[in-house]
Each structure stands twice: as structure tokens, then as C-alpha cells.
Symmetry: C2
Subunit: 200 residues, 2 copies
């Protein structure tokens, strides 16, 4: 059995993390998405338990108090967090659990899972990122401005990540992600059974 | 430009490291082989400067004394070592320099190049390894016995390596090596220019 692992995927809003992870899951059936909890409102088409578990602030704060979250953060006025529930059991089953979270959460995950793989999804350049945010058409101009400022803050965390993936063309970027998964699963530190097999 | 790096490839005699590295070089033109110096006799078909630089003991010991070797080792009665010459300049040019060396040399390289990638090539199992050593037909039975004992010693170093590659089918194994190269070149620690581009 290939080893289970945790892959953290971060990147600025508008860079296309969600689409990329969805494509990766269609290429590698071992890859599963950890669904986050959030207090932000669902966008059109989003359903509870698919993109997010949608909670009100009271529910979310109750999850914090009862240690049901691996990490959580307040960002642009909303809570986001990772329910600990299935993450550990999926890893034990040999799955590659993807957490799509922002930078502070990523560093917190790294502390709890030192073997996790941290991937930062980048736009080809900053102009392209702004273009994509405007093109999405779901946000007011001042929200776009705030997201760009936030992106600049997030890039400062790049040196803490393991790999970068430039999301220029989705198929190419998804292939790169798949290759990172495949390669990381060949790490000797993740495969004590291989070492045992040859240490007779 | 993609980042240069050093890749150390080890594995027991008979596992097919040489063929694997040759195939990898045909798949990725950035990959170059660092030719080792040795005092062992050339096998039929081997030429000086291609498989090895063939030296007598006096010449080799002179290279040791004048610090022309990154690492060296005496193994089965012969010296093997890595001339430092082109290694550093190739890395600076963005090449992936492959060193095909044994386990003690690999650990010594890791100390001098902490960013180097250590790959251990494994046979599908031990019976297959013995089979391949016999099939090569160039060694006396007692040499084969010694090589198998040595293989058992080498496997003890597995936990110090980054990745394993099982050389069952050459094309598949070479693809895996190529993927390790591609993935390692996406490490943020190897790409300070990417970080600079987004930290404006």
C-alpha cells in the first residue's frame, strides 16, 4: 500500500486552487479533499459538505472550544477551519488528504504533521491574478482590492512551503501536482515497510 | 532557468543503476553524469572518461592528497572517488549532476551538499538481485557472494536516503527517476528567483 499523507495547498484567492485540486482528484483516486468549515456565506451553487461545511459563528466557536478543529483562522471577517475528524483516519488508510487552506493555517498544520507536504499555487504573474479576480465577477471592487493586498501578505510565506506550482494552464499544473504526490510517496521516510523488506 | 542540483544514486551491484541513469539522461537533457575515478580494471567495452576515469593506485592517492576528490572510498580492494572539478560548475549552470556512488560516499556528499537528493535503487527482491549478478557473467562465484554480503550492508543505509526507486522494469523505473528530478526542481528552497518575483 502506498503511504497516506497530508498535502496542504495554499495560494491567493483567484489563483484557481479549487479547480486544480478537483482536477488532481480526477487524476489520482487516492487523493481526497478535506472539506473545511466556514462561517462565510455560500456562493451560488455551493452546497453544504461539498465546498465547505457552512456554520454560523456560534456553531463554529463551539467547534473551536471542543477541539474539533485542526486549525482555524479568521479571514476577511469569516472563520475558516479544518475539522480533525476524517483527516487522521484517511491518512491511516493510505489516502492523500488535501487541505486547501491559507498560509497561517498551513504553518500550524506543519507543526502538527511535520511530514505534510506544503504546496503554494502561484499565478503566472500579479497582473494575471488581478485579471482573474475581476473575471470571476462575484466580488465588489473593494473586495478585489482587499484580496490583492492579502495576496501580497500571503506571498511572504512562500519560503515556508515545499513546492510551488504555477497555474498557467490547468492541465499542465494538475500534472505537476500529480507528480508531486507520486514523488512524495516514494520518500523512504514515508515507507518503513520498504526499509524492513531489505533489512533482513 | 531551472535550478541546478546534485543527485546521488546508490544501490547494490547488479541492480542496474548504470542503465537506469543512462536512460534518465536520454529522457532529460539537463541530467549529466559525473564520471568517477577508480583503480579497478576496465571491464570489456569500458573506456577511460566514459564509465570511469581509470587510474593506478599511485595516481589516485595523489588526487586524494591534493584534494581533487569530493569523496573517495576503498571498496572490494579498489579506490573509487568523485573528482570535484566539474560538479560545482555544472550545478551553477543549472544541470542535474548525477553521482553514482556507494553508501558511505553518499553520506559524505550529503554533508558537503545538504540540498543534494539521495536516491536508492532497489531490486524487486533479494532473489532477483542474486539472479542478476549471476546473469551478468563477469564475476567469479566468490565475488558474487561478496557483492551480496555488501548489498546487505548497503541496505542498512536506506533510512538516510530521500527516495527509493524499484528497478523492476527499466522504462518505468527511469520514468520514476525523471519525475523525482522534475519534482525536486520545483522545491521553493531551490528557486529563490520565484520567491523574489512575488515579493514585490
Amino acid at each position: 500500500m502506498k503511504p497516506g499523507m497530508l498535502m496542504v495547498v495554499s495560494g491567493p484567492a483567484g489563483v484557481g486552487k479549487g479547480t486544480l485540486v478537483k482536477q488532481l482528484m480526477s487524476q489520482r483516486e487516492r487523493v481526497v479533499l478535506s472539506v473545511s468549515a466556514t462561517t462565510r456565506m455560500p456562493r451560488p451553487g455551493e452546497t453544504d459538505g461539498t465546498q465547505y461545511w457552512f456554520k454560523d459563528r456560534q456553531e463554529f466557536e463551539s467547534m473551536i472550544r471542543s477541539n474539533q478543529l485542526l486549525e482555524w483562522v479568521e479571514y476577511c471577517g469569516n472563520y475558516y477551519g479544518t475539522p480533525v475528524g476524517h483527516v487522521r483516519s484517511c491518512i491511516a488508510e493510505g489516502k492523500v488528504v488535501v487541505l486547501e487552506i491559507e498560509v497561517e493555517g498551513a504553518l500550524s498544520i506543519r507543526k502538527q504533521f511535520p511530514d505534510s507536504v506544503l504546496v503554494f499555487v502561484l499565478p503566472p504573474d500579479l497582473a494575471e491574478l488581478e485579471e482573474r479576480l475581476r473575471g470571476r465577477g462575484t466580488e465588489a471592487p473593494e473586495v478585489i482590492g482587499r484580496r490583492l493586498e492579502r495576496a501580497a501578505e500571503e506571498f511572504r510565506f512562500l519560503p515556508h512551503y515545499d513546492y510551488y506550482v504555477i497555474n498557467d494552464e490547468i492541465d499542465a499544473a494538475s500534472d505537476v501536482m500529480a507528480r508531486i504526490v507520486d514523488t512524495e510517496q516514494l520518500r523512504i521516510s514515508r515507507n518503513p515497510d520498504i526499509v524492513d523488506r531489505f533489512l533482513t
